[in-house]
């Protein structure tokens, strides 16, 4: 899908007056895989929602391929799709897993979007199979899926959207160990021709395929290729005492989720 460039400048995000994320400068370039790391409350989710235009910063701008998308999800959505950390279950929604993916594709087409035609159905079937949702679950309501299955459905949705950038907020956290390897491979594959930005508490799983690491703790502390970013003083600022030195050239980060 070609080259893609995201530039964030002088951004300050605040909730109710309290500043939670400061970014002096952040440049991300695709295709490739970007991992965003940081402890709970560091601002990883905030960063992704900022890039999607879903959070409006107090100041500063986010430019994607020369287009200013700051606080404007409609424009940002031309470039990207977004997988939330805890996907909404739609307690009152009549949509099944299959419908949800199909509608998300239809919404990106022109009006009227009355029903899922056979071409779209094949696209949806393909996306759901690729993320490993068994067909016996396709016609269940979202509320009837497990956390891991729900996450897979939302990943399928983000792939089916066909945009050059995918933002995924802890896509692997709710997934079982066997599923993690499969999904990790899918994420790596997707990052071959797209810019895929994932947040994670388990950086090792994708580390050797990671083009850029972004370390956050209320501000973007450092970003760049893993070999450059992984230095003891940088990690210490982000993770503090959770860093355990293991031998002279090895650090272990204790950042287990939940």
């Amino acid at each position: 899908m070609g080259r893609i460039e995201i530039e964030v400048e002088n951004v300050e995000v605040a909730y109710k007056g309290e500043s939670v994320l400061h970014i002096e400068r952040l440049e991300l370039e695709g295709p490739g895989l970007v991992q965003v790391l940081g402890p709970n409350g560091a601002g990883k989710t905030t960063l992704l929602r900022l890039l999607a235009g879903l959070v409006k910063p107090r100041s500063g701008s986010i430019i994607i391929n020369g287009v200013n998308i700051t606080g404007n999800p409609r424009i940002a959505g031309r470039f990207l799709s977004y997988v939330p950390q805890s996907p909404p279950v739609g307690r009152y929604s009549p949509l099944t897993a299959f419908d949800t993916v199909c509608y998300s594709v239809l919404m990106r087409r022109s009006w009227p979007r009355l029903y899922c035609d056979s071409k779209t159905r094949r696209l949806v079937e393909d996306a759901l199979s690729r993320v490993g949702v068994p067909s016996s679950h396709w016609f269940k309501r979202l509320t009837e899926l497990s956390g891991g299955q729900l996450m897979r459905v939302f990943i399928a949705k983000s792939i089916a959207a066909g945009r050059p950038v995918i933002l995924m907020d802890e896509p692997l956290s709710p997934v079982d160990p066997a599923g993690k390897t499969g999904l990790a491979k899918l994420i790596v594959d997707a990052s071959k021709d797209r810019l895929v930005i994932v947040t994670s508490h388990d950086p090792m799983l994708l580390l050797d395929k990671t083009k850029t690491l972004v370390l956050v703790n209320r501000r973007v502390v450092a970003y760049g290729p893993p070999s450059v970013v992984i230095r003891r003083e940088v990690l210490e600022e982000v993770y503090g005492s959770a860093i355990i030195p293991v031998g002279p050239s090895h650090l272990h980060i204790v950042d287990s989720h939940r």
Partner: protein
């Protein structure tokens, strides 16, 4: 139950509705049937949208707006000579838009609803009390509160039929977007659809239906009519969103015509019977959902 069986059941119910409607239209004034069928169909179509878009607060508020608007409509109609229905609809829309705008600008729906319901009921009580003592008879007022389809005049008959038709057509055209906005609001924004436009359409339809038809079923029974058909169909239908909507409309229509028949046969309040039937069907759907 599989899709095919559910669709066949729905078709059978629809045939039954049509036969019953023919009977009612032959035996009693057709306008009774038209206003009841229109209002129950329109409310049922909106119900599924309100339910999946999680705008339950709006459906709780708009009937109260209707109460105030209908009172003011009579007052202004008397003062200006312009049809009360026109005033009622205009005032009702302004009220419903105000509520929608408050929520759109970030006021918590529960806070907005408390404020809104309190205001419209108090102002409504003042207006209705005044109107009743100075201008009209008690029957007109009781129609606003508990509804009386048998009083419907030619204006209301035409209005109801038009609004029901517009509601059903727009519901089908806009349902995918509105249902998706309720399912995944963030992705709806990212997908590029004009979220505000669909909300505006939905609020307009809720306003037109609940305010304009308030004298048919009364503002009290508008609550279950806006809430339950959607809930019943989402609970009991496993047949994709399009058919869930069809189911909601057929359920609403059936309850409307059966309710009207029972009401005229037993000489009871039509809206009361319709409300009770809705509750029975809802309980049945809950039981079915539990056991399934």
């Amino acid at each position: 139950m599989d899709f095919v069986k559910q669709k066949i059941i729905l078709l059978i119910i629809l045939m039954f509705d049509l036969v019953l409607s023919l009977f009612l239209a032959e035996k009693y004034p057709a306008r009774w049937l038209i206003v009841i069928a229109s209002s129950s169909t329109a409310f049922a179509a909106l119900s599924i949208l309100v339910y999946s878009r999680r705008l339950l607060f709006a459906s709780a508020s708009s009937p109260h707006a209707a109460f105030l608007a209908a009172g003011l409509g009579i007052l202004l109609g008397y003062g200006t000579g312009i049809a009360p229905l026109a005033w009622t609809v205009i005032i009702g829309l302004v009220l419903v838009y105000t509520l929608g705008f408050m929520v759109y600008r970030g006021v918590d729906p529960d806070d907005a609803t408390s404020l809104f319901v309190s205001f419209s009921t108090s102002a409504g009580a003042l207006t209705v009390y005044y109107v009743m003592s100075k201008i009209v008879s008690g029957a007109d007022i009781s129609a606003i509160i508990i509804g009386d389809p048998l009083l419907a005049g030619p204006d209301l008959v035409k209005y109801s039929a038009l609004v029901a038709l517009a509601t059903v057509i727009l519901t089908f055209l806009c349902a995918p977007e509105i249902v998706y906005m309720g399912t995944d609001p963030d992705d709806a924004k990212l997908s590029g659809i004009r979220v505000w436009l669909y909300d505006l359409i939905l609020f307009t339809l809720i306003g037109l239906a609940s305010v304009g038809m308030v004298t048919v079923v009364g503002f009290v029974i508008e609550h279950p009519l806006l809430l339950l058909p959607g809930a019943v169909s989402v609970l009991s239908c496993r047949c994709g969103s399009l058919w869930t909507m069809v189911a909601s409309i057929i359920i609403g229509l059936s309850i409307g015509v059966v309710g009207l028949l029972l009401a005229v046969l037993l000489n009871l309040s039509p809206s009361g019977i319709i409300g009770l039937l809705l509750v029975i069907v809802y309980l049945a759907a809950l039981a079915f959902h539990r056991s399934a």
